[in-house]
């Protein structure tokens, strides 16, 4: 009984900011007073009337799509090598690929910024794209390693015995069996790239990503526009959780 009370209290505290955001987004005045005295949808209109959010969304979506595709291809190849082959340096490769997850984000951000300043051929957006590929890579590798370990390599061998070349065997046999894992990794990659803030914040110049635009807005303006935008994004997050659950099973992903 005490346990249930304590657990729900903590979950309630976690939910409180979310509930407050949703309620505040319908506040008619430009204050953050809770609960609001009058209700309105004006802040939702204001979201669409603020150009940085639109351009930020486009930039973030473009980055997420590009880095996820690159990360997915590179990550799948790495997962294949690690699961199917035992080779010298296998452990080192795994640690290196997981490195972006353990190096502090400020350190990654600042080091890429200095790198960007000293290397001529790397443009600002190129550095941001590289950063997002690095952010995405560990998640893709982890999900696909787990997925590939559950597949049976004998299926591929059987296909090759029946006359398929290795590439055909991979595309026609292995790929369909890890399709769910690939889709799940893609979702995870898109989300991780879309939400990356701290490291990206060091690298953005003129073209802001959506989280950077939101951060700047919070620091300069004080009205519920961000609450409205967040409510919209939260609906998006729920759809993503639902899709991920369908594809991978939540228990497996959140571990």
């Amino acid at each position: 009984m005490m346990l249930r009370l304590a657990a729900w209290l903590v979950l309630g505290l976690l939910a409180l900011p979310v509930v407050t955001i949703v309620v505040t987004s319908f506040n008619a005045t430009s204050s953050f007073a809770f609960p609001p005295e009058q209700w309105s949808l004006r802040w939702y209109r204001n979201v669409f009337d603020t150009p940085v959010f639109g351009s930020g969304l486009v930039m973030s979506l473009w980055l997420a799509a590009a880095s996820s595709m690159i990360g997915l291809v590179a990550g799948t190849m790495t997962a294949l090598a690690v699961v199917r082959y035992r080779f010298v340096g296998r452990g080192l490769v795994l640690s290196l690929v997981m490195a972006p997850l353990v190096v502090p984000e400020v350190v990654i951000g600042l080091s890429l910024l200095i790198w960007l300043q000293s290397v001529r051929w790397l443009s600002g957006n190129g550095a941001i794209l590289l950063l997002h590929c690095l952010v995405v890579l560990p998640f893709v590798v982890r999900i696909l390693v787990a997925n590939l370990q559950r597949t049976d390599v004998n299926l591929e061998h059987a296909a090759m015995l029946l006359g398929a070349n290795p590439v055909q065997a991979f595309v026609r046999v292995t790929l369909p069996t890890i399709a769910k894992g690939l889709a799940g990794a893609l979702v995870f990659a898109l989300v991780m790239s879309f939400h990356n803030f701290t490291a990206t914040f060091f690298l953005v110049s003129t073209q802001q990503t959506l989280p950077v635009a939101i951060f700047q807005y919070i620091r300069t303006e004080h009205d519920p526009t961000i609450a409205a935008l967040s409510t919209l994004l939260m609906v998006g997050a729920m759809v993503i959780v639902w899709v991920t659950d369908r594809l991978l099973g939540l228990e497996r992903v959140t571990k």
Binding site: L13, T20, G75, Y85, F87, S111, R142, Q149, F197
Partner: protein, 303 residues
Amino acid sequence: MTLDQALPGPAGDTVRRRPGRRPNPVPYLLVLPALLLVAGLVGALLVLSLRSLEGAQGQVPSLAQYARIATSPHYLDHFTHSAWLAGAATLAAAVLGYPVAYYMERVGRPMRRAIMAFLAVVFFSDYVLRMFGLILVLGKTGIVNRLLVWSGAVDRPLSLMYNDFGVFVGLVSASLPFMILAINGVLARLDPRLPEAAALLGASPPRVFWHVTLPLSVPGIVSGGIIVFLLSLNSFVTPALLGGGFVEMVATFIYEQAINLFNLPLGAAAAMILFFVSMVLLVGVNGLFDRMGRRFGVREEGR
């Protein structure tokens, strides 16, 4: 999300080994694209360490920047203050997270899934926006102050943010999902026969919890604790938004020095210190945690 958990176990019988032949080039070709990406990071870290070794007049190598940080109480304060806040947040997250993790194990599958989905929504929602939610909650006209004033507990609204307290709340709130999932992961793998045996031997439920379940879940608390401590120590958004410029942590200090004050070498030195502290904690505490895991008979398996 530590390195240890990320490493899968041995590949087992799916390994193709060709004894006596030269090494198979295929795996190396497969890991090449990923390694090229990571090379970008490794190169950047090397350049960062070079910049941190720049002296006041640009001479290299020099430990002047590190000496400046080590001898300035003002600079050092950012590090100790961050460590203190991160430690407090870790402790609070463990105390608050444990009941939820334990509760998830005791309720039925549908409720467990519902809580898991809720934590996933929190995890998948934007970090900046979650901190914004806390600004709304903790503000002068936010729900907490409204309730305090309405109940007569205080006369006028309290300052709950733009100070250490606000940053602390932000760090705890951001860490809780990680802590809950880390503890729950260990509790879920715990052999149910152990608490059962203790109960059969006459231990009361509180005794079973304090002497069997809680000690067995220590590995989860430790692994969750490392993640939470490091996330808090390196946090940038929380002090930037909930500290409102009044609370300086290492990450905001690095940004301030490197970007706003154009003092790249000093920022780079601070970043290198943060990098080494993180790595030492991760590797050191993980080793400790492995030994502890063996002692308690719970081996973390590669997930």
